[in-house]
């Protein structure tokens, strides 16, 4: 993991999110307040705009700046949650050393754990955590078992997609959708969809390298 990698992933993700923008927008209009797509797009834009400022900085500093940007520039649930993710990332030890795959996994797992603590949502509550927690569990498995990386990432792609789809028939207990009771059923959670697209994009990028 490097600053360069982060920026180029942000660009890839931006492309994918923009391609799916109207779907994500509609999802938050159905069971939320319609701003999720703009929050995500704003966040990606802000991170990508940082490129000039951070591209030659050490990773710790760059992650810190990304975290502050995401935290202060997005707002809403997404801003707090993804901000928390990057703050956790930026606090990882030994960021001045080379970050190989296992280390990167650890950082992501810790980031997702921080999100979970911030939002107090677990699997089954119809949020992005329905995608992120199982992904984190799988990452941990891959890391601990020294599994074949590309094979593991393919499985993660599948997990993210299944879990994203699984939010469709859930009752929500956290987030805006929780206010709807039964009426939330039948709609995929917007944060679950955007998270799944992010994971999908990064995994595919690494697999195709």
């Amino acid at each position: 993991m490097s600053v360069n990698f982060l920026i180029s992933q942000a660009k890839n993700i931006q492309k994918v999110i923009n391609e799916n923008a109207s779907e994500i927008e509609a999802l938050d209009q159905n069971i939320g307040d319609g701003d999720h797509i703009f929050n995500i797009q704003r966040g990606l834009k802000l991170v990508i705009e940082l490129e000039g400022t951070i591209k030659d900085l050490p990773l710790a500093k760059a992650l810190n700046m990304i975290a502050m940007k995401v935290l202060s520039g997005i707002g809403g649930s997404s801003g707090a949650l993804f901000g928390t993710f990057f703050i956790s990332m930026a606090k990882s030890p030994d960021l001045d050393k080379d970050i190989e795959f296992r280390k990167a996994c650890e950082m992501i797992i810790n980031g997702i754990q921080a999100m979970k603590e911030r939002g107090k949502a677990d699997v089954g509550e119809k949020t992005m955590m329905d995608v992120l927690i199982p992904v984190s569990v799988k990452l941990n498995e891959i890391k601990n078992n020294n599994s074949e990386i590309k094979q593991g990432l393919s499985e993660i792609i599948k997990i993210a997609e299944d879990r994203m789809l699984s939010t469709k028939d859930m009752l929500a207990t956290k987030g805006r959708a929780s206010f709807l009771g039964e009426r939330a059923k039948g709609h995929i959670d917007p944060g679950a969809r955007s998270s799944q697209l992010i994971i999908d994009t990064i995994c595919k990028f690494i697999i195709n390298q």
């Binding site: 927008e25 209009q29 069971i31 939320g32 307040d33 319609g34 701003d35 703009f38 929050n39 704003r42 502050m68 935290l71 202060s72 520039g73 997005i74 707002g75 809403g76 649930s77 997404s78 801003g79 707090a80 949650l81 901000g83 928390t84 911030r118 939002g119 929500a172 207990t173 956290k174 987030g175 805006r176 929780s178 206010f179 709807l180 009771g181 009426r183």
Partner: protein, 330 residues
């Protein structure tokens, strides 16, 4: 999309700039991070009240900054909770040493961002969460009910106590009582359009209304055929009373709030219907508020809030207030 707007990205900033210029005698607008604060310098020993939330609910909260109400407000993008650095900067700007009370509407995004802001702020602080929307079934396992129009009442009533020298603990206690004593339910006739989206948040038939709508156009209890005002008001009051269970002849404050696109004439008609129905149920209206205070952009619709009042609440409600959107006694 039909709005007075130049670029969707600049909507909030330009509107805040205009707000700052039009009310330069009461408030000032800081950008980067964005917050609205009182113009006049802090009063030593006064607890500072800070609220905030996504924009699109104006005059809430910026319009309530001033004597007897808020010390600062942190507006997020339209319908997006503000970011923690806004709360931190506002707290640093207004705290006079007696501590900061954050008034937060119960939405995941607001809660998380205010929590982080509070963690980032080094001074003494505490928070109240408002959750007055009875349209949503409450449950300890979920996020619970939404915070809506009663937030205005909390801000006014606690604002007066803070002005009178109430401690952080006393302010929090009173705020929590007001929130617990209040129930709100809203109905929408039309959708609103988030500027960045450029199209309505939801579709609704020419003869339909959304009963129990949220202040971001979130779905409510059910989609229904539109009905005479008396019927709508009766159904809203049933839901609230069911929840608040006022004593016989209990005194209440009746707050008829417009969603932004409904004219005053209709709000007063709703008030009249509500007044009569309440009377027939032995509930006494002791104080009133009618107008657009907690809105959802240009949405047509209204909400009704009932607040059970005791002497202390009434005294603090009646106390002078001088903000852009609420002013009396001075």
């Amino acid at each position: 999309m039909k709005k007075f707007i130049n670029k969707a990205d600049d909507f909030l900033k330009e509107s805040l700039n205009g707000f700052g210029k039009a009310h330069g005698d009461i408030i000032q607008v800081s950008l980067d991070p964005t917050f609205v604060s009182r113009k006049n310098k802090k009063k030593e020993g006064k607890v500072s009240l800070i609220s905030g939330g996504g924009s699109g609910h104006e005059p809430m909260h910026g319009g309530f900054v001033g004597y007897g109400m808020l010390d600062a407000a942190c507006p997020g993008f339209v319908f997006s909770a503000p970011a923690p650095d806004q709360m931190q900067a506002a707290a640093e700007h207004v705290d006079s040493g007696a501590g900061v009370l954050f008034i937060v509407k119960n939405y995941s995004g607001d809660i998380m961002n205010f929590q982080m802001g509070a963690e980032m702020y080094s001074g003494t602080n505490d928070s109240i969460i408002t959750n007055d929307d009875v349209a949503v079934e409450d449950s300890t396992f979920t996020t619970g009910r939404r915070g809506v129009a009663a937030t205005v009442l909390v801000e006014k009533i606690v604002g007066s106590l803070a002005e009178d020298g109430g401690s952080l603990e006393e302010c929090k206690k009173l705020g929590e009582k007001v929130n617990k004593n209040a129930g709100t339910m809203g109905v929408a006739f039309t959708s609103c359009t988030v500027p960045a989206a450029g199209k309505p948040t939801f579709d609704i038939g020419d003869d339909e209304m959304e009963f129990g709508v949220g202040i971001h156009g979130e779905p409510g209890r059910k989609r229904e055929k539109i009905k005479p005002s008396k019927t709508i008001v009766g159904n809203i009051l049933d839901a609230i009373l069911d929840n608040l269970k006022p004593e016989n002849n209990e005194k209440i404050l009746l707050f008829v709030n417009g969603m932004g696109g409904t004219p005053l004439t209709e709000l007063y008609l709703v008030y009249d219907d509500a007044f009569q129905i309440l009377k027939s149920k032995g509930v006494e209206v002791t104080r009133s508020l009618v107008g657009n205070y907690c809105t959802s952009l240009e949405m047509q619709g209204a909400s009704i809030t009932l607040l059970k009042c005791d002497e202390k609440i009434i005294k603090n409600w009646d106390a002078p207030v001088h903000t852009a959107a609420m002013r009396w006694g001075m």
